[in-house]
Subunit: 218 residues, 2 copies
């Protein structure tokens, strides 16, 4: 098993964390998003959409979309579980993950930033405000759930990390890249602190990957 | 069981189709997105993010995010199944659904169109091009998978409708609302045609819901 990723990609980072939590070894093959490698025909043959991550199984199957990949890993490597045992719990964990992975993160990925810059001629300061706004809108929605719902524990759902924590923690990485004020999301930041006590999260951080700069310029 | 939706919401439409495929009766409570009802405190108490759909269970639990809701319905009402039996198949179905529900649809929802208009002062024609572009980018990515992968059958994955078909069909509804040229996505349109032969899809169409106009103005 190997996967296509990139140090800076928060979606690839989700898969990296899941693999680390499961203790599954998989080589990361870098696709340089800053040089547009994801749009070249060689990579489009692997991932038609031209995005990372892609998980390559040993039989040649290419799995796409980070949440789908993580649920696959959870189904095929059940320990430790990344999803609750009950249907309502799974719905809550998937819902929290999807607030980030559907309604937050896709708004700030390279293709959107490029469209804002090149097609809409939006200046850099305004693009940064766009990214900050949508990153925080998702985290505020997650925070509202975490702060009022009894299912919240040490982590987003109970006392062990789930798919929701993986998505929320990577979104906080993004919030920090963009210097967002995380003051309005204390419940998120408490859970983030718990995640970062775990080696699987800590060592999967974008800036700790090969090829990453010491500090991020966006 | 009841759910909060709106005739025009494509995410609520996904839940409506899933309920119809399952033969589960659930009252739809309208939240008028065009009058901003989703942002009022009464609805924020139900759905912190201020979006539809929300599925209200009889025990008072509020489930959020359409894909999470549909997987919950599939787990609690297993017939007919909306997910494949094998882990790789589930990953493909979730991946196709997520291309639409993560990377396509969230870019054209009301809060984004409002931000483009009010915060970025983007004119209507340019906003329409934005919506057309991102709706079709998602459908082209789905089309590339459907046209080259052996798992594609009468529907996106095999010969029965799944979560993927629900997401893809509603995205085609969106493409038609915005007068997109669907010529470049023939495999998507073939599957869409199969979906629309099923009463569950056909009668769930946004323009067939109470309160909907006869034609759409966006």
């Amino acid at each position: 098993m190997k996967y296509y990723g990139f140090w800076r990609s928060l979606a690839a980072c989700r898969v990296r964390i899941a693999l680390a939590l499961k203790g599954v070894k998989a080589e990361e093959i870098p696709v340089n998003l800053m040089q547009g490698e994801q749009l070249k025909p060689e990579y489009r043959a692997v991932n038609a959409q031209g995005v990372v991550p892609t998980l390559m199984l040993d039989d040649g199957s290419a799995l796409f979309e980070s949440m789908a990949i993580i649920e696959y890993l959870d189904e095929t490597h059940p320990q430790p579980p990344l999803m609750p045992k009950d249907a309502k719990g799974r719905a809550r964990v998937r819902g929290l993950a999807q607030i980030v992975a559907c309604d937050g993160h896709p708004l700030v990925v390279p293709r959107i930033r490029n469209y804002l810059e090149k097609d809409l001629a939006i200046d850099e300061a305004t693009r940064t405000r766009w990214c900050q706004h949508w990153i925080m809108e998702a985290l505020k929605a997650v925070d509202a759930h975490l702060s009022k719902e009894k299912e919240t524990g040490r982590f987003c759902h109970g006392d062990a990390p789930t798919l929701a924590d993986i998505c929320v923690a990577t979104q906080v990485f993004g919030a920090r890249f963009y210097n967002c004020d995380t003051g309005p999301v204390p419940a998120v930041m408490r859970v983030f602190g718990e995640c970062m006590k775990l080696e699987a999260f800590e060592r999967s951080h974008p800036l700790k990957q090969p090829g990453a700069p010491k500090e991020l310029k966006h």
